[in-house]
Amino acid sequence: MSLLEKGSRPSADKRTGGNRPDAATVSVSTRTKAQRRRPPSALSVITLIVLLGLVVAPLVMVFVGAFLSGAPGLPKSDWSFKAILSVYASPDYLWPLFGTLILAIVTAGLSVVIGTLFAWLVARTNMFIRRTLEWGVILPLFISPFIGAVAWNLLGAPRSGMINTNLRWLLGLDDDAVLINISTMPGVVFVMLLYFMPYAYQLVSSSLRNMDPGLEEASYMNGRGILATAFKVTLPIVRPALIAAFFMIAILATGVFTIPLALGVNTGFAPLGMHVYLKMTQFPVNPPVAAAIGTLIFWLTLLGIYFYRRSIRNARRFVTLGGKATRRREVKLGWMRIPATVLVALFGLFAAVLPIIALLVTALTPYAMTDFRTMQFSFATIAQVLGSIDVWNSLLNTVWLSLLAPTLAVLIAFAVAYVVVRERGRLGGALDYLATFPVAVPGIVFAMGILWLYIRTPIYATVAVLTIALVAAFMPTATRFSTTGLMQIDPSLEEAARMSGANRFRAAVTITLPLVRPAILAAWSLLFIFASREVNETVLLALPSTRPLAVLAWDHINANDPGAAAVVSVLLMLFMAAGLLIARFVFRTRLDSSNL
């Protein structure tokens, strides 16, 4: 294995313990003045243009929209400060702003704590059936959070939810006994936790698997116990991953609107993302105020992005290519083995198994029935949905979107990563920042910008405009994978190719690309899932001819037809599973925490 040794090796050794004969450390933070002064390459300029069009232009449209009296382009729409003032200069949005911040921090904090615990249990301990249970933790990635929320509304509604209704008669409780109430703010946090925690799990788990086990082994040999080793050795090493996960989830949680909406929360508080949605859909529809709230969220999440990037930068600084000659010691849990197994299994039960059962039951009943004693089953809804041309059109659109969007996203992200890692310079830094921008804007706001930007072009009302929206939305994830993958490839390999006569393009395509292929395929697989299940970015842009399955499910929910939504949701999950199976055989890539 080749080692990259550029920059300050001593500082890397100091951070990682300093005694790692089987590992290599890389520092990419030191940039020479010559690198800073190097003129931008054609690739970097083209990539910049693409990102400006893809990411910045829609954002600019959102800001423009906030300074209008109506949606851009409408006959009576003029420049106006009314929307901006109603959001920034009034106390109306102070409490939603504060509440959104609290909601994001609580969700992210809990996700990181539980995700770290689960990652450690799966990667380091002798917990039972770890591989199976890991699937229970990853499986929620296959479920769109809004579909999960719809399922949990069926399960946990206080009076009529399946859990309350059936446990009442099973346990002989009063008719008004409420065992679980999902339509509360803790309920919202719970459901967000179920569908955001896997992100924390994958980041921490990946970090745990890639770290040098010799460090923990040395701690044990020096007499440290399990807890002392976990807190003194393991946690400090995975700390960058923890911080990255925290900010990533906090940013995601800031823009969420589908979960509180689907759970029917009626607490007098609505997060900012929900206010955006309501201003876009309620009487009187007010797109400028929606855009103005979107800009408020942008500033809030920009702060999160700053910290997120700082943590990612720290994580990147000491990439470890371990030979892993030391076998990991498996921590014996003793009496905790069964409770730990049950705990992780419960997560899979709550996040995946129960919601899927709720959806299947709803798909098989003539109307919303939750009492198992009186339940009647029928295939009418399934037959009606599968007999509709809409579902097959949507399936075809989903196929296109889930193939095109990830492919384009990873290609552009590879170009960004190449400029950031290989060419560096100020332009590289700018590109890196721009590629992270879409995270800062809730999907529905970003889609609004895309809509206003492209509604006057021939690509409006085509799958292309949905693809553009998804590619832009996926840039942060795709770039993170590509950058990390590229940093682990020794640039001297490319240099050797160039010295042998290959130009830079050929060297990148024939040397670097094949080596970074596993990271790119892992990114592609993950984005394939995201593209298949995405609603936020696509709901405003989709028409019957371009509507994917996830939006069709959303439309059925809006049209008071949870049974049809359940059928479409199950079909969507089957599609994602089939797609990943095919990817596994064709690309030989597996989607688990080691490559996520």
Partner: protein, 391 residues
């Protein structure tokens, strides 16, 4: 070197600007379908005489497809469109959303010259009038158009093909006792202010649609104000468990999450009972209440103008309007049209007293209401405060 950087940056900014401008440029205007011969042109006709019907059908079938924008119930609209397809072989794509966002989408597309809709339907007469005023709805009178109530149409532009309905208090027929039902029948909103209904009521906020706003406005500033007023609403609010849209409320009543919900259109109950007659849902009409209708018209720059006109002809015909009433289980507004409300035969059904219903078109013209419920009025904010609604 700095100059070189500046140049590179300038090129990048200019190129990105060009990309963004490309996004803002208007597409080429569609060619006029008028052949200038002065005869019947199915693409531009303002009506279709009987002798030209064959020409319209042939032109529509040549177009082969049409897109219907509607805020009606999706399953019903799909079934209705399927009957049109079965008769003429013309595929119908349906874009379904709530009235407000649907009109917003339609208006943005039309204003950008990117019209996708061939036929536009909406419950909100204000939106339909706005569409006419902006020139987005074509002047077209189907043969059956005059058979629909003139005071609920805009002659020559839109007609209430899609049904009429009135706001009601819906309830779960399994969960409500006969005694409770008797009280609610007497005076629905007054009865639901009783603390014994705490946690059993769902309401649709006035922010959902102009019609919902008009309903609540009746009880704060209209005929129901003396009986209920803001104080009465505060008592009801204390019993409310859910504030959400009518579709979700209907679902929650069926599921048993709440036992009562209002204001919900009676047509949604008709839809639910049509889908499954055993669904445990029924309704009573409060007095006063608001009635409305789903208007529909042909789009001016329709991509499939002949198919759009043929659809309008079929929708206004006895065959088309009766089919919809039957499929939706709803009231047909066409004179002499079939009444599809199967529930009107059921024991619980009490017909609407015409004296207690105010049509939404009255509120469209009511400047005081429009000011109060508009962006600068305080009606919506006051309601949200009383009901603790964050939207």
């Amino acid at each position: 070197m700095a100059v070189k950087h500046l140049r590179t940056a300038s090129i990048a900014v200019l190129a990105a600007g060009a990309l963004a401008l490309a996004g803002c440029s208007s597409p080429a205007a569609p060619e006029s379908p008028d052949d200038g011969s002065g005869g019947y042109n199915p693409a531009t006709a303002t009506s279709t005489p009987a002798e030209d019907m064959e020409a319209l059908i042939a032109a529509a079938q040549a177009e082969g497809t049409l897109t219907l924008y509607t805020d009606g119930t999706l399953a019903t609209q799909q079934a209705w469109a399927a009957e049109f397809t079965a008769k003429y072989g013309i595929q119908v794509s349906i874009v379904r959303d709530s009235g407000g966002p649907l009109y917003q989408k339609f208006a943005q597309e039309e204003a950008a010259g990117q019209g996708q809709a061939d036929v536009f339907g909406n419950i909100d007469a204000l939106s339909l009038d706005d569409a006419v005023d902006n020139g987005w709805l074509a002047e077209y009178t189907p043969e059956g158009g005059p058979e629909f109530p003139a005071d609920r149409s805009r002659a020559g532009y839109y007609y209430p093909y899609l049904m009429g309905n009135a706001h009601s208090v819906i309830y779960n027929s399994n969960n409500v006792t006969p005694e409770e039902l008797a009280e609610v029948r007497e005076n629905p909103l007054k009865a639901l202010a009783d603390p014994k209904f705490k946690g059993r009521i769902g309401v649709c906020p006035p922010q959902l649609a102009m019609l919902a706003a008009a309903f609540w406005y009746q009880y704060t500033d209209g005929d129901g104000a003396a009986d209920i007023g803001w104080d009465g609403l505060a008592e009801i609010a204390a019993n409310v468990a859910i504030v959400t849209d009518t579709a979700t409320l209907t679902q929650n009543v069926i599921q048993g999450e709440v036992d009562f919900a209002f204001p919900v259109a009676d047509s949604l109950v008709g839809n639910a009972l049509k889908a499954d007659p055993n669904t445990p849902i029924a309704f009573v009409y409060p007095a006063p209440t608001v009635g409305t209708q789903f208007g529909m018209g042909v789009v001016a720059d329709s991509p499939h103008p002949a198919a759009a006109r043929l659809f309008a002809e079929w929708a206004a015909s006895p065959e088309g309007s009766d089919a919809l009433a039957e499929l939706a289980g709803n009231l047909n507004l066409r004179e002499g049209g079939a009444d599809g409300r199967a529930y009107s035969e059921l024991d619980w059904f009490v017909p609407l007293d015409p004296e207690t219903v105010v049509n939404s078109t009255v509120y469209v013209q009511d400047q005081a209401f429009r000011d109060a419920a508009g962006p600068d009025g305080d009606f919506l904010a006051h309601w949200s405060q009383v009901f603790g609604y964050a939207g």
